[in-house]
Symmetry: C2
């Protein structure tokens, strides 16, 4: 599907570990005062004036991404984004990352350069210093492990939601999952007819949400500008229902989520219709949206109500009331997590 | 070689991601004041009073370890140690780690429990809080990515060595490499005759250095007690020669290393004789010793000279003099790095 136009292949063994890391990281610049020393010693040295958040995520080929339709540059970009999203979900400012890559010999140097170009782009856009990492060989496949650090003054946990708080989501949900469905379908078509040129114009948004997601750095700033501190916050990596359940369980509250309020992009709705999938199911269980889900006090409602980035989708209840979806037909059905099923696949 | 006496096999899919992480991390305790929030949210929250060091390392099955002789508990332990060693090489106190594991379905829950038991043991012994991580499936094999954080007041880089400084190494070197040779030989014997019971008594030390290395936390304290701040420091993961070259290049100095001064355990010498390998070559290029290599000012020599943990093995020279090994025959030969050859294998 995605043609490799770059025919140059430099064998990784030509550089060795140190030459390789030097080569791949030579364009990285340090922007943060908190970065005392970046790449090039046994460890990076950082100097924070505030509290620090740390989070880490692994992306594994064949589990989290498929290189038959994921361009390597996008993969590098996405590997940063999924970690930054966790930093922003703490109401923190992301400042540094480390990147470790395990890669088999089937990848030439040019492939690693593409991945690092994506990492560099993300680092520039999100203003992050790349301060360390490790590059090593693997017997099979590609694996990227990123650890992100950030600074925070008023961290927001998952456990602070109170009954009557509003449940608020940023952006829209379900698009990344539908993008994946489109890409998987095209992969099957390609297998049958490699000369087929797919017309993906009508799927631009959903595909981009899958291949090149963004993290909601803007929301941390917006909340500050609006003078709103959420009572709880989490990022949506596994689907709305499983994230709601995390907040409810850790905060010991229940929840009423309104089906009609869930923000869906028109392209999600049309793609769901085409694939004959229920769009609410996709929104609840799709995952990889990297939006933020938060609860805010009713007192803060006037501050957020006109904002196009924030949608109220329900409210929190007493724990004993349970977690429910209020459907279009105004019936209440319990929310269940489909969650994360990698080990079942 | 190492029999799996634990016949219980619980499929990983029985727990799902969240149940799995809860289950594996339930014994972890938080000891450090700087850990505000550990596992259980989008990110850990830390509050440091000093500067922070961050380092990360990947261990990949078939590249960095072989499960036919590496017990899983030792592997968990070692995955922590290799990172702590980098923290101590900055003259820092290690305080927190995050652990990410990618594992294929061939591993049952009990295998992950073993790995985590090793991680927990290392965390207890080295007084580290485990504050986060990720557990995911892989298509093939096992991979462990650890990120370690520490606090530091007087960090020591690789680039501070001056001409005439003494070159000092902790402990002894070469044992981990010879342990690997013994284990590889026994693996071949086992393939031919699985009923053979190997007698490894005479290799206890070298095998332990390979399978269950320790990091030199004690040296950071010792240097403090002796009131010695090294001018440069690095940990020995890739062999003495490549680490010396890092210090020389980054400090812009040369070096005379004395072959007769390199500290070798008697078991290394006897095993080298048995394998007909030159022990100096092993010490220079073996790697995985996790000792510390440092340079100290001549003024500090009286403070360290009686200490059994520290051996002076040479001194630094002007950069133009180059890097040399002074042999037993008192000839000078240039030091070359064999370095890291994973991509060539």
């Amino acid at each position: 599907m995605i043609e490799d136009k770059n025919q140059q292949r430099t064998d990784l063994s030509e550089l060795g570990e140190f030459g390789l890391i030097d080569h791949l990281t030579k364009n990285f610049v340090i922007n943060h005062k908190s970065t005392v020393k970046g790449i090039g010693d046994d460890a990076a040295v950082l100097d924070f004036k505030k509290k620090v958040v740390v989070t880490t995520d692994l992306l594994v080929e064949g589990v989290h991404f498929d290189l038959s339709y994921m361009p390597l540059k996008h993969l590098g970009y996405k590997s940063v984004i999924v970690n930054l999203s966790d930093v922003y979900a703490m109401n923190a400012t992301a400042t540094q990352i480390t990147v470790s890559i395990a890669v088999s010999n089937r990848f030439p140097l040019e492939a690693l350069e593409e991945i690092y170009a994506g990492i560099e782009t993300a680092a520039k856009i999100y203003n992050i210093d790349v301060v360390g990492g490790d590059t090593t060989s693997s017997n099979k496949g590609l694996l990227i492990s990123v650890t992100a650090l950030g600074e925070v003054e008023n961290e927001v946990y998952r456990n602070g939601a109170k009954p009557n708080d509003l449940l608020v989501v940023t952006g829209d949900v379900g698009a990344a999952y539908m993008g994946l469905q489109v890409l998987e379908r095209e992969k099957e078509v390609f297998k049958v007819n490699p000369n087929n040129q797919p017309d993906l114009d009508q799927y631009t948004y959903v595909i981009e949400r899958q291949l090149k997601p963004e993290a909601r750095k803007d929301i941390v700033k917006l909340l500050q500008d609006l003078d709103v501190k959420p009572t709880s916050m989490i990022d949506i990596s596994d689907g709305l229902s499983s994230e709601i359940m995390h907040i409810c369980k850790q905060s010991k509250v229940g929840c009423d989520l309104y089906e009609t309020k869930i923000p869906l992009d028109p392209q999600v709705i049309s793609t769901c219709e085409e694939f004959n999938i229920d769009s609410t199911t996709v929104a609840l269980n799709g995952g990889e949206d990297y939006e933020l889900l938060m609860t805010i006090s009713q007192d803060d409602y006037p501050k957020i109500k006109a904002n196009p980035n924030l949608t109220v989708i329900g409210y929190m209840t007493e724990e004993s009331a349970g977690m429910h979806l209020v459907t279009r037909a105004e019936t209440k059905i319990p929310i269940k997590a489909q969650g994360w099923k990698n080990f079942n696949e």
